[in-house]
Symmetry: C2
Subunit: 121 residues, 2 copies
């Protein structure tokens, strides 16, 4: 039987669009997604789940109503459920997200930025 | 309020023991753990959960009864629940594990390699 690693760089080379997470694997009922971001996202929250951000390349700032955190390559952060946040990247940044299957990128808000869900690469 | 990134290198600098996962964060009822490995681990399985391996440094081979996969830095693999596997690293390798809180490193087998669970750094 063939077993194959999931290579982040190879997966990242397969798309160029921004703010549109692509699923690369599942564990139990969770998904691992890659996303390229640049500029401002919108304020949103996820009422039912925490959300993990891992920066693979570049830097990402996550703004909160009462502060902010900036993540560089090799760093992660867990946004607690129900907490409003707004991602921002001055330059293109590559991120891995971990969240339950079915989570929409804009959370409880619907917007032009709402991406199609469960898109695999 | 202060928000702080979780830096993998900084966390890895805090321990030297092998095959003993350290928790660095939680999301919902899942944990993210770092572990340093070298040499052979034991055959084991996790009956109730998939297990995610992400290689941060070095290379890891995961043997299965019918094959194997080798992961390098920047690669991940999901071992399905119930599947026997045996990790092996020729040289020291640094890994991030993602699995539900409470999962024991040796799965259903108890051994000298069974590590204390839920150790945070």
């Amino acid at each position: 039987m063939g077993y194959h690693p999931i290579n982040f760089s190879e997966k990242l080379s397969k798309f160029t669009d921004r703010w549109s997470p692509k699923v690369i694997s599942e564990m139990n009922d969770y998904q691992f997604k890659l996303v390229k971001v640049e500029g401002n996202f919108m304020w949103h929250e996820h009422q039912n789940t925490d959300e993990v951000f891992v920066v693979l390349e570049g830097a990402l700032t996550i703004e909160f109503r009462d502060g902010a955190v900036t993540l560089s390559k090799g760093e992660m952060f867990v946004v607690p459920k129900g907490v409003e946040h707004k991602p921002f990247a001055e330059k293109e940044c590559h991120i891995m997200l971990v969240e339950p299957k079915g989570v929409v990128n804009t959370g409880d808000a619907e917007d032009d930025l709402t991406a199609e869900n469960d898109v695999w690469i």
